[in-house]
């Protein structure tokens, strides 16, 4: 009974994380289209929300990686997964509060790794999966998006260089409906699968599923719905950072950045790499800007984003470990997760109330 209650809390927390992932990360997906004027904000966010939902159903490779290749499922308990999720959600909200597009995916993996180490020790970590499927792709993916967008924009400018700017701008704006749609689809398939993977891990730990099982349909559908709703709720502060503060983009750059991002995320998803869509799209945006003119990229802002990236894994791991420690004060049953949930919700309500008294945090542009 107690473990069933913990499982229910874990699933609810995972879906809440998925929701925050939606409004935190998907802003990056639509920022490029909004920045170049290819789509109105409400249209871009509505379409991204729908495509996130659809994208969540097209693959389960990343979910399998998160459930089976990062931590040893045989030593994990639902409470460990719960503490990791709280760590990830807390870090997501901190970076959202300060308008930094950090990685929800790395926050999730960092949170689970941190709580697992605190609970069981370092032998709970599957180094091969963590290094080979998370850390190395995490470093390579934004560099790859930077390179792909840089090459693509260089060749594109040569092809369309002598044509009338009006025709070119209009054409690429239509193109961005395609590239932005693909990016939203890619985001849905990669990011929603991380939540599916974590819920599957909790179901395996609870004994409801066997080791190595795929996520059940209800897990896929609920994860898809949660990220889609989160996306629809927006994330204006981060849209502003990504869309206008890194570089000023034209529609050719927007198309190249989105195309590069979608290609990298979809190819990585196929091989089960749980990437950060935030890292990838920002890599693409910077590549598209730097290829045109290196000074066009506001490297100071880009540097702040890189700092947030570097901090994400250790910070969310530390919060996950602390949360696990707090839950253990109240024993191994459901009391610890229940108290942490109540404390977290109270803190969240107080934070939002404080922001509301000071006025809306972000104005839509």
């Amino acid at each position: 009974m107690s473990s069933d209650l913990v499982l229910v809390i874990v699933v609810a927390t995972a879906l809440a994380f998925d929701f925050t992932n939606g409004f935190h990360d998907t802003a990056n997906v639509v920022a490029t289209s909004i920045s170049t004027g290819a789509a109105a904000p409400s249209v871009a966010i509505g379409a991204a929300s729908l495509l996130n939902f659809v994208g969540a159903f097209i693959s389960i490779s990343v979910a399998a990686t998160v459930a089976n290749d990062v931590v040893d499922a045989s030593v994990i308990t639902p409470t460990i997964v719960f503490a990791g999720l709280v760590g990830a959600t807390a870090w997501n909200l901190v970076t959202w509060y300060f308008g930094l597009p950090s990685s929800s995916s790395h926050a999730l993996i960092g949170g689970v790794v941190g709580s697992a180490v605190a609970a069981v020790g370092f032998h709970a970590i599957l180094a091969e999966g963590l290094i080979g499927k998370v850390l190395i792709p995490a470093i390579l993916a934004p560099l790859l998006a930077f390179l792909v967008a840089g090459i693509a924009i260089g060749v594109s400018y040569r092809i369309i260089g002598r044509q009338r700017p009006g025709v070119v701008t209009r054409g690429y704006r239509y193109g961005q409906l395609l590239s932005g749609g693909l990016l939203a689809l890619a985001h849905g398939t990669n990011d929603a699968q991380k939540t599916m993977g974590v819920i599957t891990l909790a179901l395996i730990a609870h004994g409801s599923l066997g080791a190595g099982a795929d996520p059940p349909l209800w897990v896929i559908a609920s994860s898809a719905a949660a990220i889609s709703l989160g996306t629809y709720s927006g994330g204006w502060r981060i849209i502003k950072t990504t869309g206008t503060k890194i570089i000023k983009m034209d529609s050719v750059q927007g198309f190249s950045a989105q195309g590069a991002g979608a290609a990298v995320i979809l190819a990585s998803t196929h091989f089960g790499y749980p990437l950060s869509t935030t890292h990838v799209i920002n890599g693409g945006v910077m590549g598209a800007g730097a290829a045109k003119r290196v000074s066009a990229v506001r490297w100071g802002v880009a540097g702040n984003i890189v700092t947030a990236w570097v901090l994400t894994l250790p910070a969310s791991a530390a919060i996950g470990a602390v949360v696990y420690g707090i839950t253990r004060i109240f024993g191994t049953g459901a009391l610890g997760p229940l108290i942490v949930t109540i404390m977290s919700l109270s803190l969240l309500a107080a934070t939002f109330a404080r922001r509301s008294r000071r006025g809306a945090p972000v104005a839509a542009q």
Binding site: S59, G132, P137, A152, S156, I159, Q163, A263, H270, F271
Partner: protein, 79 residues
Amino acid sequence: MTATIVDWSDLLQTIGASIVAGVGITIAFSVVIWGSARFADLRREERPGPAGVALTISGLALAVVTAGVVFGVIVMTTK
């Protein structure tokens, strides 16, 4: 140690596919734009032959873009 932990075959395939798809689709779409713009200019100059060629090139490039996107989604959904 890294060599045994990382599946370089999968990683290199990911890098290759990303470059081919990301650069390829963008170039093909640029040809669509180029062909459309040339078609409009040449038609205005009343040169139907070259305008037809530009339109054909643009149409073929659009077919490449469409085929690339459809192929990518099929590969994703069939693993």
